[in-house]
Amino acid sequence: MQTILAITLMNFRSIGNRIGTSMVIVVGIACVVGVLIGMLSMSKGFEKTLKGTGTDDRALLLSAGVLSELSSGIGPDTLPLVRSLPGIKRDAAGQPLASGEIMVITELKKGAGPRPASVNVALRGVEPAGLAMRPEVKLVEGRLFQSGLNELIAGRQATQQFEGVAVGNQLHFRGSTWTVVGIFDSAGDAHESELWTDANTARNAFGRTGASSMLVQLESAASLQTLKDAVTADPRFRLDVTTERAYFTSQTQNFTRQIGILTTVVAVLMAFGAVFGALNTMYSAVATRRVEIATLRAIGFGGLPVVVSVLAEAVVLAVAGGALGAAASYLLVNGMTVSTLGQNFTQVAFSFAVTPDLLVRGMTWSVAIGFIGGLFPAVRAARLPIVEALRAA
């Protein structure tokens, strides 16, 4: 054990001679790990935003079989019936905490410059209960919209991602004009990419009846089942009931899958490239140390110390690279906000999230690459015919 340590340390001390070569491993793996973590942090961030939307004690009712609120519709006759279903909590005045919400697609511009893209942004018409039920929604600027007027409040991300969204500004879409009267925060979830107004105002402005969906506060987590049973039992309803959080979580699928494919392809290829590079470099390193290694073995040191020392060098360099890449990724990308298409074909803004588990994953990759890249050269070094190596001196 002591010999192994001694040889390994000796090896590290001589790295100075091979600094150029060693840098190749460090930088190469830094690039691989950096890119990987960067890409994974994109899906992490998207997931975080959506999975962080909604709670488990609120339920969302949509028409049966739809994938998103946009395609859902609850008729005006059905609405009052849904409100009186069992399992829904009531407020102090005995009124059900239920908000029939209307989803309207609007169009805003994204990106400054000569050709900004026209993007679709969700306008959500909420009932007063909808605000009461969502304590995470807080007004941070301006005031709430007044019913009867074309006023709306905008989520914080909406103000940052889209053009012209600021308190006092007017937005024009679908033939009507609206005034932004306030900005709200919603703990960084998907609602921050939306515009909110009063449900009745929306109905009148766009000639709609009924609602797209209904959000209800459950009496307790267990009431979900009660609600579901009541809905199933009644033939008048064809509705799906899920917790609000479950609904938003399911919205992440497409994007995460697509990014997942891209990430996998890039990651696999880059990892291969990194392994080839590491092998190449370590073979070189071993070659430059050939005489030294042969001398050690001629003196009587066994193969194991040699293997360990070479392997250790490769792994340490790889880990250094991994740490460098992870740090770079974190500094460059963490917190960067972008927006993309959500399931509703409307924009969802999210931030890249370089989480600790991603960093761990990146480091694991680098250890693996370093290990593979060092193993073959290490074994080779240990088995080199001594005489041949010494003769080359």
Partner: protein, 388 residues
């Protein structure tokens, strides 16, 4: 050139090293090719859609159907050759979202008129028109699921429930259309349903045409006709936005976000890494061969000769690895396009991509070769022979 043999032999001085470096280069350029393909896909270059087609959608969102009564008005616009309409069906096949493919409810007769580049045998066209539940599919779709004429395809529409509330629709394949001229029909992965049946059977939205598809007589009129159409409906309840089909698709893609930035960042990182690796390899290679290069100089090879030999070696290495990687990426793309079960559009690596890759190879050769080449140029025969 007579020095080719020498450069080639020198390249293989250390077999393991050369193979590994080539492997890294191939990997890097394979990645380059794939990323370029993805990039061209997302920047709309791959959209093989001809200018004569315009899409008229509801101004705010293409998800809002336009009413049927707009059709004759659009038809009357000068420059319009024929008008069709299309409603996205949004069906899932066998409950698996991975089986996704686009389905559109269209009017058969209008469809045939508007897309003459997509050919349907007359008997199949007849069958489509007369069969209520009839649907036609493109050849790529037929290949993907192994469908033939006569097969029944059950689809669950995420958007449109039937009058009884269920979402389970069933359609009969009555025809498979093809391209008039190779690849002229870009809709090979789609299914087209009979609109009349669809409109009658659906629970709501009846009378909604979806988007309006306009074929213009002269591609140059695209902008003018588009503006005329939109002007017609301005300030009405059905404001429209008309753009070429290409722009329509592009706008959709642009909403996905700034993918170009991401893709190019990846590329940048990859190339930086490969530059370091190959550069180091070349340096090592030259370092090991100092005595041999010295011998060449004693024989009478000038400093310039030796510099040239090293640069050539770097060039061979990068071009060999690069071309192999690019060819592999092309092969991968075509394999993916033909793979059953995956909806992948055929992406052709165009001239621009190849030029970019070749440029990258040349630049790389120069970057990795210049330092070792100078080393070789500068080496002193006497010192090298003496082992210093």
């Amino acid at each position: 050139m007579k020095f080719f043999g020498l450069v080639w032999a020198m390249l293989w001085r250390s077999r393991a090293r050369t193979w590994l470096t080539l492997a890294s280069l191939v990997t890097a350029f394979l990645l380059l090719g794939l990323i370029q393909a993805a990039n061209s896909l997302f920047s709309g270059e791959q959209i093989n859609l001809s200018a004569p087609i315009l899409i008229t959608q509801a101004r705010v969102s293409f998800t809002s159907p336009l009413p049927m009564r707009l059709l004759p008005q659009v038809e009357a616009v000068p420059g319009v050759a024929s008008v069709s309409h299309s409603q996205f069906f949004g069906g899932i096949y066998q409950d698996d979202p991975r089986n996704f493919f686009p389905q559109f409810a269209v009017n058969p007769e209008r469809w045939v008129r508007t897309f003459p580049e997509c050919v349907l045998p007359p008997d199949q066209e007849q069958a489509w028109r007369t069969t209520r539940t009839g649907a036609i599919i493109g050849p790529q779709l037929a290949q993907r699921f192994g469908w033939k004429v006569g097969d029944k395809v059950p689809l669950k529409s995420q958007i449109w429930p039937l009058k009884d509330g269920s979402r389970a629709w069933t359609f009969d394949i009555v025809g498979i259309f093809g391209s008039k001229v190779a690849d002229s029909c870009a809709r090979v992965g789609n299914m087209y349903l009979n609109y009349a049946y669809f409109d009658e059977a659906r629970q709501f939205g009846n009378g909604g045409a979806g988007i309006i598809v306009v074929r213009i007589a002269n591609p140059d009129d695209a902008e003018a006709v588009g503006r005329t159409i939109d002007a017609m409906f301005e300030n009405s309840a059905d404001e429209t936005k008309t753009q070429t089909e290409k722009d329509f698709s592009l706008n959709f893609v642009r909403q996905l976000g700034n993918l170009k930035l991401i893709l190019y960042s990846i590329l940048g990182a990859v190339f930086f890494a490969i530059l370091m690796l190959t550069g180091n390899t070349m340096l090592q290679a030259v370092q090991d061969r100092i005595p041999e290069l010295a011998v060449l100089k004693t024989i009478g090879f000038t400093d310039a000769h030796v510099l040239g030999l090293v640069l050539s070696e770097a060039l061979f290495l990068c071009v060999l690895g690069g071309l192999t990687g690019m060819l592999l990426s092309v092969a991968t793309m075509s394999a993916l396009a033909n793979a059953p079960g995956i909806a992948f559009p055929p992406i052709n690596a165009n001239l621009q991509v190849w030029l970019f890759a070749l440029g990258a190879m040349l630049l790389l050769s120069l970057a990795v070769g210049v330092w070792p080449a100078l080393r070789a140029w500068r080496l002193s025969i006497v010192d090298a022979l003496a082992g210093r």
